[in-house]
Amino acid sequence: MSRLVTQPDAARDRRILILDTSIRILYPSILVLAIYFVFSGHNRPGGGFVGGLVVGAALALRYVSGGAAAVRSTFRLPPHVILGAGLFLSAFTAFLPLLFGGTILEHGDVEFHLPVFDKVKITSALTFDLGVDFVVIGLILMAFAAFGEDLPDAPDSSDDGSDGPVAPSGRRRWRVP
């Protein structure tokens, strides 16, 4: 809380209008790109890992404009749940074939037709990749939660003791150049 006391005016000039506005457009587009990467990954550049990293880049943008609170409010699920769900999804996909007499990590695929996309082929590698995607997203969320910081004027910047370290008072905080 000492930060608020020592730097009462710092919050006001922190926000940059151009940045905030462009993020409003960029953020959803990047997420769409990430989803594309995950789904196209099996045949084109992309994949779960890259998809997760791209989501991470989008989160970094949100952090720049809204601080840790903005990152935290991105997903309803807490980061560790996303992380665990990802590992579970991947492991589940890996071990599922054992139930049907296959070997671990054996992948099957289905092909069907959708109205717009025409022929769609989905392999079980996709769920495995989705698991990887979730793990990466969870990791990045946790990193922001751990090392990130709330903007001073953010509505929920009150120190509830659960998120992020408090920067030692008196040290310069990172600012958008």
Binding site: F37, G41, H42, N43, R44, P45, G46, G47, G48, F49, V50, L53, V54, G56, A57, A60, Y63, P79, H80, L83, G84, G86, L87, S90, A91, A94, I104, L105, H107, D109, K121, T123, A125, F128, D129, G131, V132, V135, V136, G138, L139, I140, M142, A143, F144, A145, A146, F147, G148, E149, G164, P165, A167, P168, R171, R172, R173, W174
Partner: protein, 796 residues
């Protein structure tokens, strides 16, 4: 047999798990297991004594050829009689000793049962590895029993000392047993007996096994744990630390001596250690004021005696050992029980406070039991202990014609005189005139003990008298056990009076000298005290043990301080130099021809950026600027991937670089903006040297790695993967198919690592969460080892 072991296990765990409600009655439940064992052994006894052992075998670790082979022969029967017979009496005795419920009592009863099962396993195992496992289980249960009163630091220290010493010995023994088993081609004792191996390696193995046996049976110089273990409740001392567990070492020596007594240095080692232990134990017993310590040192002495009898590998002498093991079990357990009764009813076991005790009413049975048992210990006729001593003397007189035999006989006579003296000290200490007049008299109005409390010691005294007067009752068992140890031997029958011979004369000498020593006890005590003052400079075994512990602590502190000196630059230098420079020579030797460095002009620009940004990262003074420079290196790398036609790698590299730069900046906020160069002048050249070495090493590694498969005929792995990607992996992006399919397991591992890293990062970022938790007692506190090692703050 197996079901008996299981019964002990089930009863023991059952009492430990749910015994809190049982309280004292836990000992009644615990008695079921030894009772069943005694009944079972009794039904099998006649067959076993006819020379037909009962055997059972269970596969355990078949791949290693480890089986649990149980074998009840006559010698095992002797041990079972000790373990379960005395175990049963101890359960009854405990009902009297623990007259009130207190916490931890049920746990004591349960662990006691588990110990009894482990000890049964030791004496029934015919297989060396299984024997070792049970052996270690007795050490562990002994540790738990000594430290049962876990609020008492002395009990914890004694328990640690016991498990350290027996544990180290156990490890040595395991190595020795494996050497013997491999050399002999079998781990079964009964098969080794037929065809024992020999040679220098076996000799070394035997020395290791003997170390194990010596630690377990508290032989000098490993004896310090046994007196320290007297802090345990008296039923535990009576059972584990006199009658059964400490005899495990003797038991193993008895089992192996018929095969190996003449191999290498076995006999010399056993004779020297056994004789020293017997004398030192006797001398120290004579100086004790605490009755339990007196008995403990007496036990040490008697264990040395047993080593002398079993270790030489002659069946005449070993027969005496079998009698002694039984006689000692009977009289020593009874004496411990008596001490427990005295301690319980008066609150002290210091002989200086116990004078005038015999005047108290209701103590006749205790007195009779104590006198009979002590007399048996002293070797007075017509008691069981006398027969044992007579047989031992006779064995050494008639068959001690080996090197050191006469010396051993002299030691036995001398130590037996001491035994007589400390037996007398024990009896006079409780019931006689040892007490000092200026102390409070606590014994006159002592409460009379209950029948349950006294009963077991009376039963043991009856056995002592009965087998002394009519040894024919137990003759079959002892002869059978001798033949079991030494097949084809013809043991002499056990007799109370074997005619007027040298042994009888020696017994008379022992008794006369013992009486003299008792009469002259005051001057003898002075003499011992003065001699002991002279020896003050020589460290005792207890001090030796503590010195070893202390030096381990000091050395590890120094090593930690040297290796983990807390300097991040040094850690980094050591790590990167080890990883890169150590394999450098091997990589450099693989380097034959240099590749073409620039394949297309497109390579030049990214590489130039990389070099420039890399140098820039070294030069700039601001941390964040340096992080951005590193980011530039990464982006240029992505550009190089694009130039090489690897869009997938480039994409990944690009995203990774973006994110890691952001995270870098997040973390660097907490550090000062720029480096302050307070390091000594030498630091900069050293850093440059380390960085240069690492750079060269990585360069060489990259060159030789890319050449590594050039001279292999098989199709290259990348080719195989590219071909199989679509047909088998159902995907045309090879990189992704490798990640999720061909090398899917790797990815599983990697995301698990990511998960762990995420948790680690969060806990690093939130330090001091557990600062308020009270710290548990540290080991150094318990042992009072002194300086607590100072860890760097980060490692706490």
């Amino acid at each position: 047999m197996f079901f008996l072991l299981l019964l002990h296990l089930v009863v023991g765990i059952g009492i430990v798990a749910g015994g809190g409600a049982l309280g004292r009655r836990a000992f009644v439940v615990a008695a079921v297991a030894p009772l069943a064992t005694v009944i079972w052994a009794a039904t099998r006894a006649s067959g076993v004594l006819d020379g037909e052992p009962v055997t059972e075998s269970f596969a355990w670790v078949e791949q290693l050829g480890i089986t649990i082979d149980l074998r009840l022969d006559a010698f095992a029967l002797v041990m079972v009689a000790l373990v379960s017979g005395i175990g049963l009496l101890i359960c009854v005795y405990s009902l009297g000793y623990f007259s009130h419920d207190k916490p931890g009592l049920a746990r004591l009863a349960g662990v006691l049962t588990l110990f009894a099962g482990a000890m049964l396993g030791v004496v029934l195992s015919d297989q060396l590895i299984a024997l070792f496992i049970f052996w270690e289980l007795t050490s562990v249960t002994s540790y738990l029993l000594i430290g049962n009163d876990d609020t008492n630091p002395r009990a914890r220290a004694a328990a640690l000392q016991a498990i350290f010493i027996t544990g180290v010995g156990g490890l040595a023994m395991l190595a020795g047993l494996i050497i013997i088993g491999q050399a002999g081609g079998t781990y079964r004792i009964s098969e080794l007996l037929v065809d024992p191996p020999s040679g220098a390696v076996v000799n070394a193995g035997l020395v290791l096994v003997l170390i194990g046996a010596f630690t377990k049976s508290a032989q000098v110089p490993f004896s310090s744990w046994l007196p320290a273990a007297m802090v345990a409740p008296t039923p535990v001392s009576a059972y584990l630390h006199s009658a059964t567990m400490v005899k495990a070492g003797v038991y193993l020596v008895a089992r192996l001596a018929p095969m190996f007594a003449l191999t290498g240095s076995w006999r010399a080692l056993v004779l020297v250690v056994g004789a020293t232990t017997m004398l030192v134990g006797g001398l120290r017993a004579l100086r004790q004021h605490d009755l339990k310590l007196l008995l403990a040192y007496g036990t040490v002495s008697q264990l040395g005696f047993m080593m002398l009898l079993f270790g030489v590998g002659d069946y005449h002498i070993a027969e005496a050992g079998i009698i002694l093991i039984l006689a000692h079990g009977a009289f020593k357990a009874a004496l411990f029980m008596v001490v427990g009764i005295v301690d319980h009813e008066t609150g002290t076991r210091d002989i200086r406070e116990l004078h005038g005790f015999s005047a108290a009413p209701g103590w006749r049975a205790v007195k009779v039991a104590a006198v009979i048992s002590a007399a048996s210990m002293a070797g007075l006729p017509p008691l069981f202990g006398f027969i044992a001593k007579e047989k031992a003397l006779d064995g050494y007189v008639e068959h001690g014609d080996f090197a050191g035999g006469t010396a051993a006989l002299v030691v036995i006579v001398l130590a037996s005189i001491l035994t007589f003296a400390y037996s007398a000290r024990f009896v006079l200490g409780i019931f006689g005139a040892f007490g000092e007049r200026d102390r409070d008299v606590v014994s006159v109005d002592a409460h009379a003990p209950s029948a349950v409390f006294v009963g077991p010691s009376v039963v043991l005294s009856i056995a002592t008298v009965l087998f002394g007067i009519a040894p024919v009752l137990i003759d079959g068992l002892i002869e059978g056990a001798t033949t079991a140890l030494y097949p084809g031997s013809e043991p002499k029958p056990v007799e109370l009076f074997a005619g007027f011979n040298t042994a009888l004369l020696l017994s008379a000498v022992i008794i006369v000298c013992g009486i003299a020593l008792t009469v002259l006890r005051a001057p003898v005590a002075d003499l011992q005290a003065r001699a002991s003052d002279r020896l003050q400079a020589v460290p005792s075994t207890e001090q030796g043990f503590l010195a070893v512990l202390r030096s381990i602590s000091v050395v590890s502190t120094r090593v930690t301080a040297t290796v983990q000196n807390g300097s991040l630059p040094i850690y980094l230098a050591v790590i990167v130099l080890t990883v890169t420079v150590v394999p450098l020579a091997a990589f450099a030797s693989e380097l034959d021809d240099l590749p073409q460095f620039i394949e297309t002009p497109a390579h030049v620009a990214p590489v130039a950026i990389m070099v420039a940004a890399g140098l820039g990262a070294c030069i700039v003074r601001h941390r964040i600027a340096a992080a951005l420079m590193l980011g530039a290196v990464g982006y240029a790398m992505a550009g190089l991937y694009v130039a090489q036609g690897a869009p997938d790698l480039a994409l990944t590299q690009f995203s990774i670089e973006t994110l890691s730069t952001v995270l870098f900046v997040l973390v660097l906020r907490f550090l000062p903006r720029s480096w302050r160069h307070r390091a000594p002048a030498i630091a900069a050249p050293m850093r440059i040297a380390v960085a240069g070495a690492v750079g060269v090493a990585v360069f060489v590694f990259a060159l030789s790695a890319s050449n590594a498969r050039s001279d292999v005929d098989e199709p290259s792995m990348s080719q195989v993967m590219i071909e199989n990607s679509l047909p088998k992996g159902k995907g045309s992006n090879v990189v992704n198919v490798i990640l999720v399919d061909f090398r899917g397991w790797d990815t599983m591992g990697e995301i698990t690592v990511l998960l762990v890293a995420a948790i680690g990062a969060v806990s690093l970022a939130r330090p001091g969460r557990r600062r308020d938790e009270p710290e548990g007692p540290v080991f150094e506190e318990i042992l009072d080892v002194g300086d607590e090692p100072k860890l760097p703050e980060a490692l706490r």
